[in-house]
């Protein structure tokens, strides 16, 4: 029995030794999230515009109803989102929008630092999402 105790505690003590800690010194040190992490959205650009064609699938599927799209016609006669805004205060980061998009125009990045001082700053407009 004593043997088992010693074995268990040795693992615990091993973690106390330098180099074995899992805590990082945020914000001076930042971890890179996994590729599948669902953080801030990004609208994917194409050559001269956003890839999004304003099909309204993401606002339709969004369970938090936080995406606002307004479609319009550009000079070339193409459909494009005149307005594309995500209200990050309401977004639940489920990733359904990414899944619904037929043209892979929206993706989720690793950005998780989304704190802000003003409510308006949580409105991520097309211009911000394209960055």
């Amino acid at each position: 029995m004593f043997k088992e105790f010693a074995k268990g505690l040795s693992i615990t003590f091993k973690h106390l030794l330098p180099g074995h800690s899992t805590t990082v010194q945020y914000p001076t040190v930042k971890l890179k999230p996994s590729d599948r992490f669902r953080g801030l959205h990004r609208l994917v650009p194409s050559q001269d515009r956003e890839k999004c064609v304003a099909c309204y699938l993401c606002p339709t599927v969004c369970p938090a109803k936080c995406i606002t799209v307004e479609s319009a016609e550009n000079e070339k006669g193409e459909k494009y989102p005149k307005v594309y805004t995500i209200d990050m205060l309401r977004c639940i980061f489920c990733g359904y929008c990414v899944e619904a998009c037929p043209v892979e125009a929206i993706e989720m990045t690793g950005a998780y630092e989304l704190a802000n001082y003003e409510r308006e700053d949580f409105q991520f407009t097309k211009e911000r999402l394209l960055k």
């Binding site: 064609v53 304003a54 099909c55 309204y56 699938l57 339709t60 479609s71 319009a72 016609e73 006669g77 193409e78 459909k79 037929p102 043209v103």
Partner: protein, 826 residues
């Protein structure tokens, strides 16, 4: 009846049914793509294949195969599924993957079927179509890359609209739908084709990229334009009417609409809509609040009533409930001077029909026209004023072989229908042609004379209408005249159609009487399946008559009010939903009346030329903002429902009348349109049997499908007279417009934006003018400048100008006469 088995279910259906229809009745679902309820069976797509035990060895298209006794049908089996899936794969070989940007996405039959039949991959590969889109016309976008060649557009435009824009061209993979010479589309723009297209190949341009179908709230209402009373389903997003949705489930129009109903909705969203009451201060109209404006109206009207009196002029686009309230306002003000629509145009119904038949309405309903054998239209403009009834006429001809004759001074769309004959008379003499027909019926002993009063008088009066003499006098072909009269007499069922409205005031009563005489002599009134149709121009013209928006007792009619005002003998005028300066005959008189009258109130959607003259302007609501009922030209009472809120502070006419009545001291209030409707029944007995909340999807028809005449009395009418002059001007409606409000709607304006003078090719050549040239038209002491439009419709010497455009001043020439002598010069 035929008995058959579908998927083990016993079904009994009529022997005219197809397997698909039988299955539908039995509640068995069969997928379809090219089938449409209102079109003839076609069988283009092969999605609806089924197995029939008696026809083993191949699959049978269910939408074209008629049922037969003892048939055993199987609608789903592994083989059927496989074949249907293959059909989908074929359809998708060349189909572009446009769904994300295609406005049909979400209600596309091809999308739905792909999903339903599980066509997730394609074994075939082919080049995607890459054809240019047709965006030449302003209203319908044609993207043939998305077309599945179901042929619905081709069929509807031919079978129902009778225009025939499209046909298939080329062969094999190259097959496509094209217009004549593959040019851009240029047609009536009724949009029937786009409402039928199962995919996104035909789409409404004004709605392009505006919304996804699932985002739209659908509100079933009634078109606010003409007396046809078509059901329009408003597609509303963010409190804005974005489009008109296809709906063939309810109403009388089978999902068919005309260009005004389908594309003319945008005036309700117009930025020029009045949003605040205006009161004239120091000569300027300035914004005021409702209380102030209503007080000003109440004070002004009371004062005027104490003086030389008040007159009330209404339009015929208010709901029945609002018209009732307007009558209450008239009572509270204490005036008997009440009238609508210029006062003259509806007299054909109220005096002509009433005199002959004792009723003031059409005697049958529109669907019955389809089953008639002979149709007589009076004035060719019937199609222009009531296009969707015109489509029913087309179906009667194409499906049931009906014969159509038109008595008119010019040709029109109706003349182009198969076998149609126009009895082209000199303007003003149509009356003589009708009289001659009556005379022929009597002379040849073809007339039904039993139980008809006044025959002797009529015979005497018809002495001058010997058909051959009339033919000579009017220019009508004698044989056609005789043949038409004989056909009418011999027909099992027949219909006589005539439209009335502001531009058709001359000889209204006389023409209606002559039509009623003819109807009586061939036994139309009261006979099941036959009808005499007198159709009002506006959406609630019939309601205005039913509710008695007419001079009360000794009160003045519209023209007398205007006369009195022009002579300084009327102290107040309250004009509701009308723009007399733009649309009433004799603009100079109207202008003088408004100039002289000390107190003028105008209640309208826009600051119309009339409203600009007013002392107080009250902003009113459009049909899309109202709750109530309209009564269409076949006596059908239908529900109008609000889809959007009014802009700014605008209020419904009903709300304004209530508030005004209260300001004037009335204590009566109503809880809503249902309560008012119940009240209407007390005055208008025909409405008493209905309950507002029980008006179903097909509406209710007062007087029944066939209205029995109260009396049958032929009334003698004298003939018309033609005018002498270089040219004879007639005015009327253009297909793309209705009244003046459509000139504020983008759709109709995109197709027809300007006033014009239409003349025949011969005359154009003689004057050496071409389309677009300006000509001077002089007559009745005025001269106008109008753009020329050369057409095939008019005989030599006759010119036509539509009345919708205020800026054209056509109503300075037109003073209510049937025809005007004018000179036309470069």
């Amino acid at each position: 009846m035929v008995n058959l088995t579908i998927d083990g279910k016993q079904v009994t259906v009529s022997k005219a049914a197809t397997i698909y229809e039988a299955a539908k009745e039995a509640g068995v679902h069969i997928p379809v793509l090219c089938y449409a309820k209102k079109l003839l069976p076609y069988g283009a797509c092969r999605v609806c294949l089924v197995e029939v035990e008696q026809m083993k060895g191949r699959l049978i298209p269910s939408c074209t195969t008629p049922v037969s006794e003892g048939m055993v049908v199987i609608t789903t089996s592994d083989e059927i599924k496989k074949v249907r899936k293959t059909v989908m794969e074929f359809l998708l070989v060349n189909h572009v993957l446009d769904c994300p940007v295609c406005d049909k996405g979400g209600e596309c039959d091809l999308q739905d079927l792909t999903y339903e039949l599980g066509a997730t991959s394609n074994r075939f590969e082919g080049e995607k179509f890459d054809l240019p889109t047709d965006e030449v016309n302003p209203l319908i976008e044609r993207n043939m890359n998305r077309c599945v060649l179901c042929g619905k557009c081709v069929r509807v435009c031919d079978e129902i609209v009778g225009y025939g824009s499209y046909s298939f061209i080329n062969r094999g993979f190259e097959t496509k739908i094209a217009t004549a010479y593959d040019r851009g589309l240029d047609c009536e723009f009724c949009g029937q084709c786009l409402s039928m297209c199962p995919v996104g190949a035909l789409l409404p341009r004004p709605f392009k990229f505006k919304a996804r179908p699932w985002q739209l709230k659908e509100v079933d209402s009634v078109c606010g334009y003409c007396g046809n009373g078509c059901t329009v389903t408003l597609g509303v997003k963010d409190h804005k009417v974005e489009t008109i949705r296809f709906n063939d489930k309810i109403g009388v129009n089978d999902g068919n609409l005309c260009v005004r109903g389908r594309f003319g909705y945008s005036y309700v969203n117009h930025e020029d809509r009045l949003t605040k009451p205006l009161v004239r201060k120091n000569g300027e109209l300035v914004e005021a609040d409702w209380d102030e404006a209503l007080q000003a109206v109440a004070d002004g009207l009371s004062k005027a009533q104490q003086g030389q009196g008040v007159g009330i002029l209404s339009g015929a686009r208010l709901t029945n409930e609002e018209l009732y309230l307007l009558k209450q306002v008239a009572k509270v003000v204490g005036t008997e001077n009440l009238d609508h629509s210029g006062g003259e145009c509806y007299k054909g119904v109220t005096e002509g029909l009433k005199g002959a038949l004792g009723v003031a309405a059409s005697t049958a309903t529109f669907p019955q026209i389809e089953k008639t054998n002979v149709i007589l239209a009076i004035r060719s403009d019937f199609y222009e004023t009531h296009p969707v009834v015109g489509m029913v006429v087309n179906q009667a001809i194409r499906r049931n072989g009906a014969k159509l004759a038109i008595v008119a001074d010019k040709k029109g769309k109706l003349d182009k229908l198969p076998g149609a004959k126009t009895l082209l008379s000199k303007p003003g003499l149509e009356l003589d042609v009708l009289n001659a027909m009556a005379r022929l019926l009597l002379d040849e002993g073809l007339a039904q004379t039993e139980g008809i009063e006044g025959l002797e008088d009529l015979k005497t009066a018809l002495a001058d209408f010997e058909p051959s003499q009339v033919a000579e006098r009017t220019g009508v072909d004698l044989e056609t005249l005789q043949a038409t009269a004989r056909q009418l007499a011999g027909a099992e069922n027949s219909a006589i159609l005539m439209a009335y409205g502001l531009p058709y005031q001359g000889l209204n009563k006389e023409l209606a009487t002559a039509a009623a005489n003819l109807a009586l002599l061939v036994g139309i009134p009261g006979r099941e399946g036959s009808g005499l149709y007198l159709c009002g121009e506006k959406s609630n013209s019939q309601g205005a008559i039913d509710l008695g928006i007419l001079p009360q007792n000794a009160g003045k009619g519209a023209q007398q009010m205007l006369d009195a005002a022009a002579e300084g003998k009327l102290d107040g005028l309250y004009v509701v939903a009308e723009d007399p300066l733009s649309s009433y005959p004799d603009r100079d008189k109207v202008a003088k009346a408004f100039d002289k009258v000390p107190f003028l109130v105008v209640q309208d959607l826009f600051l119309s030329p009339t409203a600009e003259q007013a002392d107080v302007v009250l902003p009113a609501a459009s049909f899309a903002e109202k709750d109530g009922t309209f009564t269409n030209a076949e006596r059908r009472i239908q529900r109008v429902r609000p889809g959007i809120p009014s802009p700014g502070e605008a209020r419904t006419d009903g709300a304004i009348f209530s508030a005004l009545a209260n300001k004037l001291g009335s204590t009566v209030t109503f809880t809503g349109p249902a309560a008012i409707f119940a009240e209407i029944g007390k005055d208008t007995k025909a409405y008493a049997e209905f309950n507002f909340n029980e008006i179903g999807p097909q509406g209710v028809v007062w007087g029944g499908e066939v209205l029995q005449p109260v009396c049958k009395k032929v009334v003698a009418v004298s003939g018309g007279s033609s005018v002498k002059g270089d040219f004879q001007l007639v005015t009327g409606s253009a297909l793309y417009h209705s009244g003046t409000v459509s000139t504020k709607a983008k759709g109709p304006m995109a197709v027809l934006s300007e006033p014009y003078l239409e003349l025949s090719r011969e005359d154009a050549k003689a004057l050496s003018v071409v389309d677009g040239d300006l000509v001077k038209v002089a007559g009745n002491g005025t001269e106008l400048k109008l753009k020329v439009k050369v057409g095939n419709r008019l005989p030599k010497g006759v010119v036509f100008a539509p009345y919708h455009f205020a800026e054209a001043n056509v109503n300075r020439l037109y003073k209510g006469e049937p025809v005007i002598a004018v000179t036309v010069s470069k």
